[in-house]
C-alpha cells in the first residue's frame, strides 16, 4: 500500500472523491431546502397573508403544514396497515410454503409490482379503481354510521384518501415483501427443525420459530414501506380530491391532502414567497422520511450485530 504511484493513486482519489461527492450531494439537498425554506419560516403572518401565499382563511404557516403532515401520515399509515399483513403473508408463502420453483416465480411477480411507474398507478387508481371501490366505501361508511355517535360520510366519486391508501399499499407491497422474505429465509434451520421435532404443525413452526426471529426485520421492512408511502406523489395527486383539513373522514372527498401531492399540484403556478412556502412543506416531508428511514436502517443494522447473520 506504500508505493502507490501514478494511476493507482489517481484511481484511489477518484473513488474516494466520488464517495465524498455523494455525501456532499446529500448535504446539499438538506442545506438548499433549509436555506430556501427560511424565508417562508421567518416571514411574518402579515406578509404571508398580504402576498396571498396561504390558502383562504389561514394566518400562519403552521396552519398549512400541520394538516398536510396529518394527511400525509394518515395516507401512509392506512397504506401500511393494509400492506403489512399481506406482505408478511406473501413473504411466508415465498420462504416457507411455496415449492422452490414457484417461489422464484412469485418473487418475480411481486417485484413486477415495483417496476410499474407510479404515474401509471395513479392513472389506474383514478380512472379505474376509484369508480369501482367507491361502492365498498359507501357500504362501509353506512355500516359504520350505524354505530351510535359516529357519522361516516363517503364520497360518490371514490376520490377519497382511503382509495389513495389502497393504491399506496399496492405500491409499497414489494419492498415490505422483499425485506421480510430475506429475514424469514435466514431463520436458523435448527430452530425450525427443533419445533418440528416437538410435534409442531407447519403454522406452529412459523409462529414459534420464524416470526419471533423475523420480528425486527418485519418492523424495519414496514418502516421502509412507510418511508416510501410518505413520499409518494403521483398516486395521491391523481386519485385524491384534496382539502386541507385535519379530518378523520377517510371515505369522503375534499378532506385531507398530502405534502408531496400538495407541492406537485401547486408548484407549476407558484412564484415568489409561495415557492418558499412549498419548499418549507417539502422540508417537513424530508425530515419526517429521513427520520423514519434512519430508524428503519438502524433497526436492521442492530439486528445484524445480534443475529450474526450477514
Amino acid at each position: 500500500m506504500t508505493a502507490e504511484r501514478g494511476f493507482s493513486r489517481g484511481f484511489r482519489w477518484i473513488s474516494t472523491g466520488s464517495g465524498i461527492l455523494l455525501l456532499a450531494i446529500l448535504a446539499a439537498v438538506a442545506i438548499f431546502l433549509v436555506q430556501q425554506a427560511l424565508p417562508a419560516l421567518t416571514a411574518s403572518s402579515e406578509d404571508l397573508v398580504a402576498q396571498n401565499v396561504l390558502p383562504q382563511g389561514m394566518t400562519s404557516l403552521w396552519q398549512l403544514i400541520l394538516p398536510l403532515v396529518f394527511g400525509t401520515l394518515v395516507a401512509a399509515l392506512l397504506a401500511l396497515v393494509i400492506a403489512t399483513p399481506i406482505a408478511v403473508g406473501i413473504a411466508l408463502y415465498i420462504s416457507h410454503y411455496a415449492p422452490k420453483r414457484v417461489s422464484a416465480a412469485v418473487g418475480y411477480l411481486v417485484d413486477l409490482l415495483a417496476a410499474i411507474p407510479s404515474v401509471v398507478y395513479g392513472l389506474w387508481g383514478g380512472a379505474t379503481l376509484a369508480p369501482v371501490i367507491r361502492h365498498v366505501w359507501t357500504w362501509l361508511a353506512e355500516t359504520l354510521s350505524l354505530l351510535p355517535g359516529l357519522e361516516v360520510r363517503a364520497t360518490a366519486t371514490g376520490r377519497s384518501i382511503a382509495t389513495a391508501a389502497v393504491v399506496l399499499a399496492v405500491m409499497i407491497l414489494p419492498i415490505i415483501t422483499a425485506v421480510s422474505r430475506e429475514v424469514f429465509k435466514q431463520t436458523p434451520r435448527l430452530h425450525e427443525e427443533a419445533a418440528l421435532a416437538l410435534g409442531a404443525t407447519e403454522w406452529e413452526v412459523i409462529k414459534t420459530a420464524v416470526l419471533p426471529f423475523g420480528r425486527s426485520g418485519v418492523v424495519s421492512a414496514a418502516m421502509l414501506g412507510l418511508g416510501r408511502a410518505l413520499g409518494e406523489t403521483m398516486a395521491v395527486l391523481m386519485i385524491l380530491s384534496p382539502g386541507i383539513l385535519v379530518s378523520f373522514q377517510i371515505f369522503d372527498a375534499g378532506q385531507q391532502q398530502t405534502i408531496a401531492a400538495f407541492i406537485a399540484s401547486q408548484f407549476p403556478e407558484a412564484a415568489g414567497l409561495r415557492v418558499n412556502v412549498l419548499i418549507a412543506t417539502g422540508l417537513a416531508l424530508f425530515v419526517i422520511t429521513m427520520l423514519i428511514n434512519m430508524a428503519a436502517r438502524w433497526i436492521v443494522a442492530r439486528r445484524k450485530d445480534f443475529s450474526g447473520a450477514a
Binding site: 446529500l26 389506474w124 410435534g199 403454522w203 407549476p268
Partner: protein
C-alpha cells in the same frame, strides 16, 4: 418444508394399543390442525390478493392503451393540438424522456460506480461506514424533494421560475445514484478475492486489477444493475414535473426551455380529462385526452418491461461462470 412427520411422538400414556394412542392424538390435534389449515389458506390468499391489482392494472393498461397506440401516436407531438381534436401523440415526450434519462445516467453511473469501487476495494474506516449508512438514507429521499433540490440549485444560476431538461436530469440523478451504488456494490462483492490476489501477486498495479479483473468480471452484473436503475427512474414524474415543467412541442435541447416526458404527459393528459364536444362536431372525441394518457401509459410500461428483460438477458448471456 415437509408436513408429514408431525405430532406422532408425544403419547402421554404408554400402555394402550397404538391405535388408541393414534386416535387420542388425532382428537386433541383437531383445533391445531384447523388453525394450521386456516393459516395456510390465509397465506395463499395474501398472495392471491396481491395479484389482483397487478393483473387488473396490466389488463386495463393493455386494453385501454391499445385503443390509441399506433405508429402515428409515437411519431407526432402535441403541437397545435387542443380540445377534442382527434390527433396528437407522444413523440415530444419520448424525446424528453430519452434525453433526461440519458443525461441522468451519464451523471449517475460514474459517481455511483466509483463510490461502489471505493466501498468494496478501498473503503475502511469512518468514511466508508458513513457512506454505507447515507447511501441507504439517500434511497429514501422522496422524489419530490429531489425535484425541489434541483429546482433551487438551478434557480440560483438561472433565476426563479427556471424550467430546464438538465434540471430534471439532476433531480433524477439524486434518486438514481444510490440505486446504482447499491447494485454495483453487490456485484463487485461477488468477485472472488482469489482473482484480485492472483493479479496483485503477478505485480499488476491496483487500478489495473480493478479495471481489468474486478470490473471485467462483474461487467454483466453492473450493466444489469444500471438497466434496472434506468427502468426505475424512467417512470419518475413529480421531480420532472417541477423541474422541466410540461410542453407541447419537441425540444432536443436540455439546456433551454421546458421539456415533456412520458410520465408527465400521462399526468397532464389525465388532468385535462374529458372535453365538451359540440353535437355537430363529428371529428371531436370527448375522451381523447384520457385515451392518450392510457396509450402513453402502455408505451411507458412496454419500455420498462423491455429494460427489465434486457437486464435479465445481459446477466444470463454475459455473466462469467464463477462457480
Amino acid at each position: 418444508m415437509s408436513t408429514t412427520t408431525q405430532a406422532r411422538t408425544a403419547g402421554p400414556v404408554a400402555s394402550p394399543g397404538s391405535d388408541e394412542v393414534r386416535a387420542m392424538l388425532r382428537t386433541s390435534d383437531v383445533s391445531r390442525k384447523r388453525v394450521n389449515r386456516v393459516m395456510k389458506v390465509l397465506v395463499h390468499a395474501a398472495f392471491a390478493t396481491a395479484m389482483v391489482p397487478l393483473l387488473w392494472l396490466l389488463y386495463t393498461v393493455v386494453v385501454r392503451g391499445a385503443a390509441r397506440l399506433s405508429p402515428y401516436f409515437l411519431t407526432v407531438s402535441m403541437r397545435g393540438v387542443f380540445g377534442g381534436i382527434d390527433a396528437g401523440g407522444v413523440y415530444h415526450a419520448m424525446v424528453g424522456t430519452v434525453m433526461i434519462t440519458l443525461i441522468a445516467t451519464v451523471i449517475s453511473v460514474p459517481i455511483g460506480l466509483f463510490t461502489a469501487i471505493y466501498l468494496v476495494e478501498y473503503g475502511k474506516g469512518p468514511l466508508a461506514r458513513a457512506l454505507t449508512f447515507f447511501v441507504d438514507v439517500m434511497t429514501g429521499i422522496p422524489s419530490i424533494v429531489a425535484g425541489l433540490f434541483s429546482f433551487t440549485l438551478f434557480s440560483l444560476f438561472f433565476g426563479p421560475g427556471v424550467r430546464l431538461g438538465i434540471a430534471a436530469s439532476v433531480a433524477v440523478s439524486v434518486l438514481m445514484i444510490p440505486v446504482v451504488v447499491r447494485s454495483c456494490e453487490e456485484m463487485l462483492r461477488l468477485v472472488p478475492n482469489e482473482l484480485r490476489e492472483a493479479a496483485l501477486a503477478l505485480g499488476v498495479p491496483r487500478w489495473l486489477v480493478i479495471v481489468k479483473v474486478v470490473l471485467r468480471t462483474s461487467v454483466a452484473g453492473i450493466t444489469t444493475g444500471v438497466l434496472l436503475a434506468v427502468a426505475r427512474v424512467i417512470g419518475e414524474t413529480a421531480p420532472i414535473l417541477i423541474t422541466a415543467g410540461f410542453a407541447d412541442s419537441i425540444n432536443f435541447n436540455p439546456f433551454e426551455g421546458r421539456m415533456m416526458t412520458l410520465p408527465v404527459f400521462i399526468y397532464t393528459q389525465y388532468r385535462v380529462g374529458l372535453v365538451p364536444c359540440a353535437p355537430s362536431d363529428l371529428a371531436c372525441v370527448p375522451d381523447v385526452n384520457v385515451l392518450r394518457a392510457w396509450a402513453a401509459a402502455l408505451t411507458l410500461i412496454v419500455i420498462v418491461v423491455i429494460l427489465n428483460l434486457l437486464g435479465r438477458l445481459v446477466t444470463r448471456l454475459f455473466a462469467p461462470k464463477l462457480r
